[in-house]
């Protein structure tokens, strides 16, 4: 089971980095969210995959139950990731409106030496 997850995580990371190395801003943001998903799945897998009941419910008394901490961590990370991705999409939209390009190579305005 862990092995399968490891392959998926590796795939997500590879795809994420590949997308981030493209020159299109939107592809970069997609790559970033893939990277976030990879990290979330990594937490989930690294903390151990337990086949058991839902944690902290009435019936879960002495039975085998899943570790609630990684679930809480992932939930937090997903919410944060949602917020920052939304912000970044708006920012990218505004930048491409102003510069008329969606290519990161065209974004040289802030790095130009002062003449």
């Amino acid at each position: 089971m862990e092995f399968g997850f490891a392959i998926v995580i590796g795939g997500l990371y590879a795809a994420g980095f590949y997308m981030m190395l493209r020159r299109n801003i939107v592809k970069f943001i997609l790559g970033l969210s893939l990277l976030g998903h990879g990290a979330n799945l990594l937490i989930f897998t690294a903390a151990g995959l337990t086949r058991g009941n839902a944690p902290l419910t009435a019936g879960s008394g002495n039975m085998m139950m899943a570790d609630p901490v990684p679930q809480a961590l992932i939930l937090t990370a997903i919410v944060i990731g949602f917020g920052v991705t939304a912000f970044m999409l708006v920012l990218a939209g505004r930048v491409s409106q102003l510069s008329g390009a969606d290519n990161v190579d065209a974004l040289r305005e802030s790095e130009k030496p002062t003449t």
Binding site: L32, F87, M88, L91, V95, E109, S110, E111
Partner: protein, 507 residues
């Protein structure tokens, strides 16, 4: 239960909400922000005194005992950083209020600044690794808003680069935290320290340490990860630039110090050698890059990279003296860097440009500002008897006694370079007479609005220069404080006892 450690954080976040509610009333926002910052600053000061007298204080959120709930820990390092950060923020706040840049304030500068400062204090005071991640995101969200405030094309392009690289860094941090939890079953930093000591993480610990090194290295703008900084820091208005220069990279380097002294103290073989090499390159690249710039704020933004190098050098040498030097230098740098970046902002306000080739006559026209700048620039370069000298002295001494000849030589050479770029700005913008096409810098040539703003803004620089002078005069006690702090970092028994009770002291 002592609620004090959480006040600077919770207080600032709550006041942010009040500030947002008063979005349409800038005057009320100013009052609220002043109140919020002053009360947080007071709390931080009380905390500093308490911790100095009685040792680290831990706060267990929701009264869950240490490894289960989230813990806030105020130890000597975190209170020192919190107090300095809030002091500097107060000065930037005063600068913004005097500058009366209505556009900036109307777009929500104050709430964004409060949110960011709250996040910074949270990152300093938390004792939980995942909570550190959350605070990083909080302060990033505030900084994203600040860097994009009302900007044109140039500023938004800078903001996009800043946002993108910081999100990559957060993803790496998250992965590192996940692997640590998977291996050791805890995220409480004190508990991690104990578990790391008792059972360790064979095979994985170096990889995880490298993940954290990359994540915090990006945030701190350390050598191979620094490219985003000169592309973005100079684009927002001077107040935002100064706030970032004072706080953002410093939080990254603080996290590095915290994690590498507490969680990975046994990784000295690989990571600390790597850190030493990166520190050497950072010092060199930062100083050379800064020398090549022509705008005041670009010079001192680029030089941040070099000063981060000095702090990381102290961390990599891993002796009490080196760490004490690094901490002293860090505090000194937060103060001086803010003053220099704000000086750039004032020059821009007066002349309409920060390009030193088009500036001149600031010494003749604005002697108070000029002396403030000169003292801070000399201190930044490490000219005795100013505060930068004592930090560098400790670092270089530790470097020679640690037989790190190359890095120590680079540290000395980079100091000369930083003197060179400080003096380059001094000669062009301050010392020589104003070029013919520039309005005389003396008071009386500009509109009363600009005049009164410039006078008020200069007060912030004077206050920061005064703080720097105080730190130079009392360098003995401050250095003694830093040495005790460094010893506490290298032998965290007190920290562990405060968080874990006597079980932690078994280490």
């Amino acid at each position: 239960m002592n609620l004090l450690p959480v006040y600077p954080v919770a207080g600032l976040i709550l006041w942010t909400a009040v500030c947002v509610a008063l979005y349409r009333y800038p005057r009320a926002q100013t009052m609220v922000t002043a109140l919020a910052l002053l009360s947080a600053w007071g709390a931080a000061l009380v905390l500093l005194l308490t911790v100095t007298r009685h040792g680290p204080v831990a706060l267990f959120v929701g009264n869950w005992p240490a490894p289960y709930g989230i813990t806030f820990v105020a130890d000597r390092l975190s209170t020192l950083m919190t107090t300095t950060a809030l002091t500097v923020t107060l000065c930037v706040f005063a600068y913004t209020t005097f500058s009366s840049e209505q556009a900036l304030i109307r777009h929500g500068f104050y709430p964004a600044m409060l949110a960011m400062t709250g996040g910074v204090c949270g990152a300093f005071l938390t004792g939980d690794l995942f909570n550190l991640y959350v605070w990083f995101e909080v302060l990033l969200m505030g900084s994203f808003a600040l860097i994009a405030l009302g900007g044109g094309r140039k500023q938004l392009e800078g903001a996009l680069k800043y946002v993108a690289i910081n999100l990559v860094s957060s993803a790496l941090f998250l992965a590192g935290a996940g692997i640590l939890y998977g291996s050791l079953g805890t995220l409480n930093m004190a508990d991690l320290a104990v578990k790391m000591h008792l059972q360790g993480m064979p095979r994985l610990s170096t990889a995880v340490a490298a993940l954290f090194l990359c994540a915090f290295g990006i945030k701190a703008a350390l050598f191979p990860f620094f490219f985003w900084l000169p592309a973005s820091y100079h684009t927002p208005p001077a107040a935002v630039n100064a706030l970032f220069g004072a706080l953002m990279t410093k939080v990254g380097v603080f996290a590095m110090i915290r994690v590498f002294t507490l969680v990975f103290p046994h990784e000295t073989g690989v990571t600390h050698t790597l850190l030493l090499i990166l520190a050497g390159f950072s010092m060199l690249v930062g100083a050379m890059g800064a020398y090549g710039q022509w705008e005041i704020r670009r010079v001192f933004s680029f030089s941040i990279i070099g000063q981060i190098g000095y702090v990381v050098m102290g961390l990599a040498l891993d002796t009490p003296l080196a760490l004490a030097g690094a901490l002293f230098f860090l505090v000194h740098n937060m103060i001086v860097k803010t003053a220099l970046l704000l000086t750039g902002g004032i020059a821009e306000r007066l002349a309409g440009t920060g390009d030193i080739r088009r500036l001149g006559g600031l010494y003749a026209g604005r002697p108070v500002l000029a002396y403030g700048y000169l003292l801070c620039a000399l201190s930044l370069a490490g000219v005795p008897p100013l505060s930068g000298f004592f930090g560098k002295l400790a670092l270089i001494q530790a470097g020679f006694s640690g037989r790190a000849w190359v890095v120590t030589t680079i540290a000395i050479a980079a100091s000369f370079l930083s003197l060179a770029y400080g003096m380059k700005v001094w000669i062009y913008a301050f010392w020589r007479p104003a070029p013919a096409d520039v309005l005389d810098m003396a008071p009386g040539w500009r509109s009363p609005r600009v005049e009164s703003a410039a006078r008020g803004m200069t007060w912030s620089v004077v206050a920061l220069a005064g703080l720097m002078l105080l730190m130079s005069v009392f360098s003995g006690p401050v250095m003694a404080y830093c040495v005790t702090t460094a010893e506490g970092l290298l032998d965290p028994a007190e920290y562990l006892r405060a968080v874990l009770g006597n079980g932690g002291a078994a280490r």
